[in-house]
């Protein structure tokens, strides 16, 4: 379950990004990732871990959107691209060459963040604004051990 550690890394990057807007705390709607299929990441587990990790933090309610990028190799014999598969031992179907070059499939990228910034005008009800007390807290990986029930209860309904 290394997705937990990957989420920790992602939260560190998100906390750094937040600092760019200080003292305003951005309301994040979506975080977009690009994850190649030739990585050790299981997107469903990452989404699950993210959902737990952001509870009660300034990122609560933010959705993790993962774009899966397929494995694409380049055959060095004919320069053609192909979709390597374990069934074909990753060899190129065109010239039966080993998987020399990977064009795509190794990506682990935080592509972009969709967010809004609170302005002086009152915000419409359609956009949830996080309470500032919890928003000031850095995102924790897990709910506070002393009050797990409270954290769960305070989690916003999706």
């Amino acid at each position: 379950m290394h997705e937990v550690d990957m989420t920790k890394c992602l939260l560190l990057s998100m906390n750094q990004w937040k600092q760019q807007h200080a003292p305003v705390i951005p309301t994040v709607q979506q975080v977009h990732l690009q994850v190649g299929t030739f990585t050790c990441v299981e997107p469903d587990q990452l989404v699950f871990t993210w959902g737990v990790a952001v509870q009660g933090s300034w990122l609560a309610g933010a959705q993790l959107v993962i774009e899966s990028l397929p494995l694409v190799g380049r055959c060095l014999q004919c320069n053609g691209s192909y979709a390597p598969s374990s069934a074909a031992a990753y060899r190129s179907p065109c010239c039966d060459q080993p998987m020399e070059e990977i064009i795509s499939g190794r990506e682990l990228r935080i592509r972009s963040v969709d967010y809004t910034l609170a302005t002086t005008t009152p915000s419409p009800a359609m956009l949830p604004v996080q309470p500032h007390a919890s928003a000031a807290e850095p995102a924790q990986l897990l709910p506070h051990p002393a009050s797990p029930t409270t954290s769960l209860a305070a989690a916003p309904a999706a």
Partner: protein, 245 residues
């Protein structure tokens, strides 16, 4: 009214780990040592190989080991018996070492010795063919082990690990006469996913193939840490001190 904004980050998902890994790497380079990240499934023979390689290379290289283990220090005790400084890093329930854990290990190591005196730093990762492949610790080279008892198909089933490796050691080859396994097929499967890596057949029990593997280590060390002119000047001054004494 809120205007929806979008920031393009383009950051690596593991940017925080990579930042720490880069920091570790800067230390390694400043200390002029070669750092190896040794990875495999549990029981492939990482510790047995290290016992043999540490003993064989001790006359020519100054070495230390950062020993990753989930709960015990058994492996660390085995390697300490060889006479090489070992820092155990127990990861708890984590299935891999990350750059921050290695950084913590380095702090402990510096209490024992001056890392600048080292030529080789071995990081023995936690036994796992999946997670360690994605978490860099600052190493210069990745070494993956695959024992012949694990089967011929493992490079295809765990391709990321074998793709990332600079060197793959096929271990326990002394058992080949007793197994329905063709080592040529293991080599071919490694080559499918990573045509550029070095592959050696070795046995820590019989010693077969170790010399070729050690040759790769020597070449990697020479490439990573070329002899500096400064050290020549230092050795000259030491020589003159000895002569004048």
């Amino acid at each position: 009214m809120h205007m929806p904004l979008e920031d393009t980050l383009g950051l690596n998902l593991l940017a925080a780990n990579q930042h720490q890994a880069l920091h570790n790497r800067e230390h390694f380079d400043a200390w002029r040592l070669l750092c190896l990240n040794v990875m495999s499934s549990p029981g492939a023979g990482k510790t047995s190989l290290l016992e043999r390689s540490l003993a064989a290379l001790a006359p020519e290289f100054s070495m230390a080991v950062l020993e990753g283990d989930m709960t015990t220090q058994l492996d660390a005790e085995r390697l300490e018996a060889v006479g090489v400084p070992v820092v155990p890093i127990t990861t708890g329930r984590a299935c891999h070492l990350d750059a921050a854990m290695v950084s913590g290990g380095l702090r402990l190591l510096r209490q024992q010795l001056d890392p600048a005196s080292l030529d080789l730093l071995w990081v023995e990762n936690v036994g796992n063919l999946v997670c360690p492949a994605e978490f860099e610790v600052g190493e210069h080279r990745k070494v993956a082990l695959l024992s012949v008892t694990e089967g011929e198909d493992k490079p295809l089933k765990y391709p990321v690990m074998f793709r990332e490796a600079d060197c793959v050691l096929i271990t326990k080859v002394d058992l080949l006469p007793y197994l329905p396994v063709q080592v040529e097929r293991i080599e071919a499967h490694i080559q499918q996913v990573n045509p550029r890596c070095a592959v050696f057949q070795v046995s820590a029990s019989s010693g077969v193939g170790l010399e070729a593997w050690h040759g790769w280590l020597r070449a990697s060390h020479a490439a990573q840490c070329p002899a500096p002119e400064v050290s020549t000047a230092e050795s000259l001054s030491i020589h003159s001190i000895l002569v004048s004494a």
